[in-house]
């Protein structure tokens, strides 16, 4: 009964799933999410394709040995710089939720997850002086967006012997952008203007994955994913479609010592498929992205691997939606993390601290992301 309640409770959460916002999420579909649990975030994302609590590879679910639910919260503190000014930004997001578990009597596991696919949470402020009646008039504009795309994944994995695991996932990609444009005039004789619009998105995708264990100290993982396209409605009227990318990933995991695990992975996404669609809608287009991440996890006591492990990692990624046509943003991050299990390993928390640098020409973000993951194995 308690398991059912837990699942129901967690199922209510996806409505608030978001990733960290950024000025690099202003264009296109927003800032891409990473579908990582905190454990993988702490190690830079290097373990993402092997991590059952993350949603990058459906085959990784095979490593789930008990019903597990994971909830992630991220608090971001960033400094934004662009030619207009600099500002400090704080944001709170809940980018990852996963529930999964093994199927009795079968070497298989199933699970569902809600991940942030893209995030368009931002408020941009500008000031200027206009001259509507021959008199200079100062105005303040804010343009804000709330929302983004969420990725609801139903996935299953099947273990083929001791070494192989394969998996498949069905993705429902949906979400909305609630856009608001506000103009406030410094002359009280003018009313402020507030205009709203809502974009909604819907699409489906599929993913396949596999992991191959080569002995106890070496493993490979791979995934391929097709997200088709999303239909875009503005204020309930269909305005077009945007092609979503194919994604390909390859990961490797090593255990050079009993207390140390090292992993790395790369992901390639064909976001350029959305380029023409976004340009046609007045955007700045899209470009393919590449991401590489490496990480390590050190465990002082190999018999108790969840007792305050030390995780370190780094990653580099290019961003899909340029602020200025022809340019491409990039992101670099270093991270550290740890975690603990308690209540006979039925519950646990993971912490990750990531320092990120994002830049595209004169535009840059840098700051810290603090993530907390809560996992329950009822």
């Amino acid at each position: 009964m308690s398991r059912v309640l837990l699942v129901l409770l967690l199922a209510l959460v996806p409505g608030v799933l978001r990733a960290q916002s950024s000025q690099f999420g202003v264009r296109g579909l927003g800032f891409p999410g990473r579908a990582l649990a905190v454990r993988s975030q702490g190690s830079g994302g290097g373990f993402g394709l092997f991590d059952a609590e993350s949603s990058q590879n459906p085959a990784a679910l095979a490593s789930v040995v008990a019903l597990t639910s994971v909830f992630t919260a991220t608090q971001g503190f960033r400094q934004v710089e662009n030619p207009a000014c600099t500002a400090s930004i704080r944001s709170t997001r809940f980018p990852q939720l996963m529930v999964g578990g093994p199927i009795r009597a079968l070497p298989a596991a199933v699970g569902f997850s809600f991940s942030n696919y893209t995030s368009r949470d931002f408020t941009l402020a500008t000031s200027e002086t206009i001259d509507p009646r021959g008199v200079p008039l100062a105005v303040n504009d804010t343009f804000s967006s709330r929302g983004g795309l969420n990725d609801f994944r139903l996935a299953g994995s099947y273990r083929l012997g001791d070494r192989w695991a394969v998996g498949a996932g069905f993705h429902i990609i949906s979400g909305s952008n609630r856009l608001t444009s506000v103009r406030i005039f410094e002359d009280p004789g003018y009313l402020s203007s507030r205009q709203r619009s809502e974009l909604s998105f819907a699409g489906v995708g599929f993913s396949l994955g596999l992991t191959r264990q080569f002995g106890p100290d070496f493993a490979l993982s791979a995934m391929a994913r097709s997200d088709g396209h999303v239909n875009v409605d503005r204020d309930s009227t269909r305005v077009g479609t945007v092609d979503l990318p194919y994604a390909f990933g390859l990961g490797v995991k090593l255990r050079p010592a009993a207390t140390l695990e090292v992993a790395g992975q790369s992901l390639f996404r064909t976001w350029s498929g959305a380029n023409s669609d976004l340009l046609a809608m007045g955007g700045t287009g899209a470009q393919n992205t590449f991401e590489v991440a490496v990480g390590a996890e050190y465990t002082a006591d190999p018999r108790r691997p969840y007792r305050r492990p030390i995780r370190l990692g780094a990653r580099y990624a290019t961003l899909p939606f340029p602020l200025v046509p022809g340019q491409q943003g990039q992101e670099f991050g270093v991270s550290a993390g740890t975690g603990a299990r308690f209540a006979q390993q039925r519950a646990g928390i993971d912490l990750a601290l990531e320092h990120v640098w994002r830049s595209e020409g004169p535009y840059s973000d840098n700051g810290f992301l603090i993530s907390l993951g809560v996992s329950v194995r009822p």
């Binding site: 207009a84 368009r120 875009v232």
Partner: protein, 405 residues
């Protein structure tokens, strides 16, 4: 220990959630859809569809009585007829006659030119036969020195308030009511001052009109206080008359005066504005034929109300005060000497937008109606000079071109 640390961290992170998402934007890179554009456009009232109508509020229905001594080059006199005073009072189920001890007449000054000192309100006995049809010519002969009963000085320190005149002793004969008048006292009020000026006195319609108070002692063999009575009478009728009747020019637009005039203006807004614009400022621009006249320090207020339906002179308009979530209609204060009138009417024009059946028309009136020394006369759409025709200047934004996505 681990559990405590974990719970503490979780509490810190989850309860410390704060959002601050506003960042400076550098356009055009960070301005998807661009920036809002404000358009400014002038719409002249529909030619020939602007009209003035007169007769909404008559002088005897006004909230104020006007008295002036040439403020606008002519005189205005006020007239008050009080309710009939009974010649006996009921005491212990018996009507008793009484002896008048004293009488007081109270007038409430609503507004006056506070720059003018030495003001007097002259009270005259007049025949109680005047009515709403009476004119200055009809009543002016009664304002002669022989019928003057009192000159009530308005203290220089009194900007607004009650001016009370008490009659007693021999002066009571001035207020003796003839049997033919059936107990009705009628007074005429004229203003006297070192310079041309005027004053507004509260009228019956305002609920605080003139008051006629008689202090009497009942003729009964009783020494108690029951013998002393006060008989207070409010007006049965009051009005004011002007030495020069107002003249209406059908080629011009009149607002105010007595009987009061209102002006109806009709505009035609294009569909792109009615359907999808956000009006941020709407200014009604009117050009008076002559600078605004009136009582200094007591400016009139021009009010514009949206029509609910357009059926001409009797078109229903939005309430004079806000109701049902609507804000009060726009009002502009008009100082004496104003040569151009601009009325900010954005809240009114907003009512015309969207899928509404409301006519794009408004009615102008002067507040207080028929109770102001000001009467506005504006050029109409028939004016030869397009620059002086009534017009509406709109500043608006069209639908913001939100990038998709």
């Amino acid at each position: 220990m681990n559990r405590a640390i974990g719970l503490l961290l979780a509490a810190v992170v989850l309860t410390g959630c704060q959002e601050k998402l506003t960042a400076p934007a550098d356009c055009p890179a960070l301005c998807p859809g661009g920036q809002p554009q404000v358009y400014d456009e002038v719409f002249t009232a529909i030619a020939g569809a602007d009209s003035s109508y007169t007769g909404y509020v008559q002088p005897h229905q006004a909230a104020s009585l006007l008295v002036s001594n040439g403020l606008q080059g002519f005189e205005e006199l006020s007239l008050v007829r009080f309710l009939a005073r009974a010649d006996s009072v009921s005491l212990r189920d018996t009507l008793r006659s009484y002896t008048i001890d004293s009488v007081a007449v109270s007038l409430t000054v609503v507004a006056r030119d506070t720059n003018v000192d030495g003001l007097q309100l002259l009270l005259y006995r007049v025949a109680p036969t005047f009515d709403s049809a009476s004119t200055y010519v009809d009543v002016a002969p009664a304002f002669v020195p022989e019928s003057l009963i009192a000159a009530a000085a308005v203290p220089d320190s009194l900007n607004a308030g009650v001016v009370r005149t008490v009659f007693q002793g021999a002066d009571l004969t001035r207020l003796q009511i003839a049997a033919a008048d059936s107990g009705k006292l009628a007074l005429g009020v004229r203003i006297a001052a070192p310079t041309a000026t005027g004053a507004r006195l509260s009228a019956l319609a305002a609920g605080t009109g003139p008051l006629f108070t008689t202090y009497v002692t009942l003729n009964v063999p009783d020494t108690g206080t029951a013998r002393l009575r006060t008989l207070s009478l409010s007006p049965a009728f009051n009005t004011y008359v002007s030495e020069v009747p107002q003249v209406t020019d059908p080629t011009l637009l009149a607002v105010g005066g007595a009987p009061s005039s209102r002006t109806l203006l009709r505009f035609e807004l294009p569909a792109r504005i009615r359907d999808s614009a956000t009006i941020v400022r709407a200014t009604l621009e009117l050009t008076p034929v002559a600078p605004v006249t009136g009582l200094p320090t007591d400016p009139a207020r021009l009010q514009a109300r949206a029509l609910l339906s357009d059926v001409g002179a009797k078109s229903p308009a939005s309430p004079t005060v806000g109701s049902r979530g609507e804000l009060p209609p726009p009002v502009d204060t008009l100082e004496v000497g104003t040569t151009a009138v601009t009325l900010e009417a954005v809240r009114l024009v907003e009512l015309w937008l969207g899928s509404t059946s409301r006519p794009t028309a408004l009615v102008l009136s002067l507040l207080p109606e028929a109770s102001s020394f000001s009467r506005l006369v504006f050029y109409s759409t028939l004016a030869a000079d397009p620059a002086v025709r009534p017009r509406l200047r709109l500043s608006y934004l069209l639908s913001f071109p939100f990038e998709t996505p």
